[in-house]
């Protein structure tokens, strides 16, 4: 696993590169560890409060550890009318967790998101950023099965 210091160092010359650094950190660790935020503050010359403030402003970035598979359900109006609530319930039932939680084995995290720009295929989910269209509750077991 790459060292968070090396990841951050590779962005330090990029003006305004904090968010790019956070993306890279999250790509590696699935979330942004506390030590990394302190290091970002030091490298980019901002206060720890500011660095933390940036990390927590954006819904895509997480400062909490999450599962290997992050499943996000779009809950914006078009997906809502297409049955997003039923799909999310099916995920909750099959995984035994609520939205915002991670399964005990660290495999799945369930999150809600706003529109992900795939509204031709409502309702839409993403698994680790890859969109899947036209999801119905009965497909949920198969989707989970495929996540090895």
């Amino acid at each position: 696993m790459a060292n968070y210091r090396d990841i951050i160092a590779s962005y330090q010359d990029k003006p305004g590169g904090i968010i790019e650094a956070y993306h890279a950190l999250q790509e590696e660790f699935n979330y942004i560890p506390r030590e990394a935020i302190d290091e970002v503050a030091r490298v980019f010359g901002v206060s720890e409060a500011q660095a933390y403030g940036v990390a927590t402003f954006y819904s895509y970035l997480s400062v909490e550890p999450r599962g290997k598979y992050i499943i996000r359900m779009c809950e914006s109006a078009p997906c809502h009318v297409a049955g997003a609530d039923e799909v999310i319930k099916a995920f909750e039932n099959h995984l035994g967790i609520k939205v915002g939680e991670t399964t005990a084995d660290g495999k799945f995290t369930l999150e809600l998101t706003q529109c992900i720009g795939q509204c031709q295929g409502i309702p839409v989910i993403t698994i680790n950023r890859v969109p899947y269209e036209g999801i119905s509750p009965d497909q949920v077991p198969m989707i989970l099965e495929k996540c090895k």
Binding site: I19, P78, C115, Q120, T126
Partner: protein
């Protein structure tokens, strides 16, 4: 039968979008070559005369915006690919089908305003688009077609408000994406305090053809006050959920019934919301309105991003507006009071109405609150957030009254 007119999507599905040679063989980069032989002021005049109005929602004449840029040592061109407005997938479609036309448009703007550095701010939900754009930029650079104009892609991280141009600039600078007070406008003082032109993807994608075929050609298409075409994205209870590009004098009815193929499952139409989740709801009686910016404003609706969200007669308007209120409560950046508190209270009252626990007094309160937000919120998010509530109270009030105690 109404037909599509393709300017922005002229190359879509005809060329390999990931091969710059295909774009060049289809006439790509001739417009940039042409403007390089022109005085920058003349380029701005031509774009102004074409009257291409911003396709990101505000509808401001692009050439006029560029003309406000003062002399400076460094200036920036920023392409807004944040596309967070629910129901919208047009900018993604444009870039996926023809990324080079967006790059060429940015470089044309670069020449016109005297900028050597462009940024594309792409939403975090589109990592595959970021990859595609980086590849397109590499190819264009290798061909030398961009000359000394450089373009860098930056990725957002899931904040709708970052589509607002000053919040977007804050985000590129590496900060929380909170909107700035205006003035100064970005054209004068934007990214790193330098003059910065922010335009939408679709606005840039229109430029090569405007230069190739001339301002008069462009100005003669569609509605006179908002000429050209608009890329619309259909979603909801419509047969064809597709992107289309139509002249701006096309009516909403044509969009839904001719291009969209009508309502799904043989049901009847109830409402359509155009322009994204902050857009107004439109009833059957107004469907013969053309989609251009000014016609939409005249019926209290918006063209916005061109999202077209269609609802059939089984849909519960109050429930949908409650969900929309949740969106704004979630996406409010919290910088200003009318919006931070207002979106929270709007959602609270909408939930109360939706579960059948509200009285007529709650409706009076939400209307009052909406007026305060429209007048006092700092940025467009808070100002537009009550739009769906107000327009549904106007056109679908019975659906609210049915739920009151």
């Amino acid at each position: 039968m109404a037909e599509e007119v393709r300017i922005v999507l002229r190359n879509a599905d005809k060329i390999d979008p990931n091969n710059v040679d295909d774009y060049i063989n289809a006439g790509g980069y001739q417009a940039l070559e042409k403007v390089r032989g022109m005085d920058p002021k003349a380029v701005i005049e031509e774009v102004k005369k074409a009257n291409v109005r911003g396709r990101g929602g505000a509808g401001f004449n692009a050439g006029l915006k560029w003309s406000f840029v003062p002399p400076a040592d460094v200036k920036y061109v920023v392409c807004n690919l944040d596309e967070g407005e629910p129901g919208t997938y047009k900018d993604r479609t444009i870039v996926q089908k023809d990324p080079q036309t967006v790059l060429e448009g940015m470089a044309i703007c670069g020449h016109a305003i005297g900028s050597k550095q462009g940024y594309i701010y792409c939403r975090g939900e589109y990592p595959y688009v970021v990859e595609q754009l980086n590849q397109a930029i590499d190819q264009a650079k290798a061909k030398g077609v961009l000359g000394d104009f450089d373009i860098e892609v930056r990725m957002g991280a899931g904040a709708y408000v970052c589509g607002e141009e000053t919040a977007l600039i804050e985000s590129i600078e590496g900060h929380r994406g909170e909107p700035r007070f205006k003035p100064p406008f970005p054209g004068v003082e934007g990214l790193w305090a330098k003059p910065t032109v922010v335009n939408n993807v679709e606005t840039f994608a229109n430029l090569p053809e405007i230069i190739n075929k001339g301002a008069d050609w462009f100005a003669s298409i569609g509605a006179p006050n908002y000429p050209g075409t608009k890329v619309l994205t259909l979603t909801g209870d419509v047969v064809n959920r597709v992107p289309i590009e139509v002249p701006t004098n096309t009516t909403i009815r044509e969009v839904i019934y001719e291009f969209g193929g009508g309502i799904r499952n043989g049901r009847k139409f109830k409402a359509v919301q155009i322009g994204g989740t902050s857009g107004g709801f439109i009833p059957e009686s107004l469907l013969d309105t053309p989609i251009d910016f000014d016609s939409m404003s005249s019926i209290g609706a918006t063209l916005g991003t061109g999202a077209v969200f269609i609802m059939d007669d089984t849909r519960d308007i109050v429930d949908i507006v409650t969900r929309i209120s949740k969106f704004f409560e979630h996406e409010s950046c919290g910088k200003c009071n009318p919006c931070r508190e207002g979106t929270f209270r709007c959602y609270e009252i909408m939930k109360k109405i939706n579960r059948g626990a509200a009285s007529a007094k709650d409706i009076d309160n939400i209307v009052l609150l909406a007026r305060v937000m429209q007048k006092a919120a700092l940025c467009g998010l808070g100002q537009a957030a009550p739009g769906p509530i107000m327009t549904t109270l106007q056109h679908f009030r019975h659906e609210y009254e049915r739920k009151l105690v």
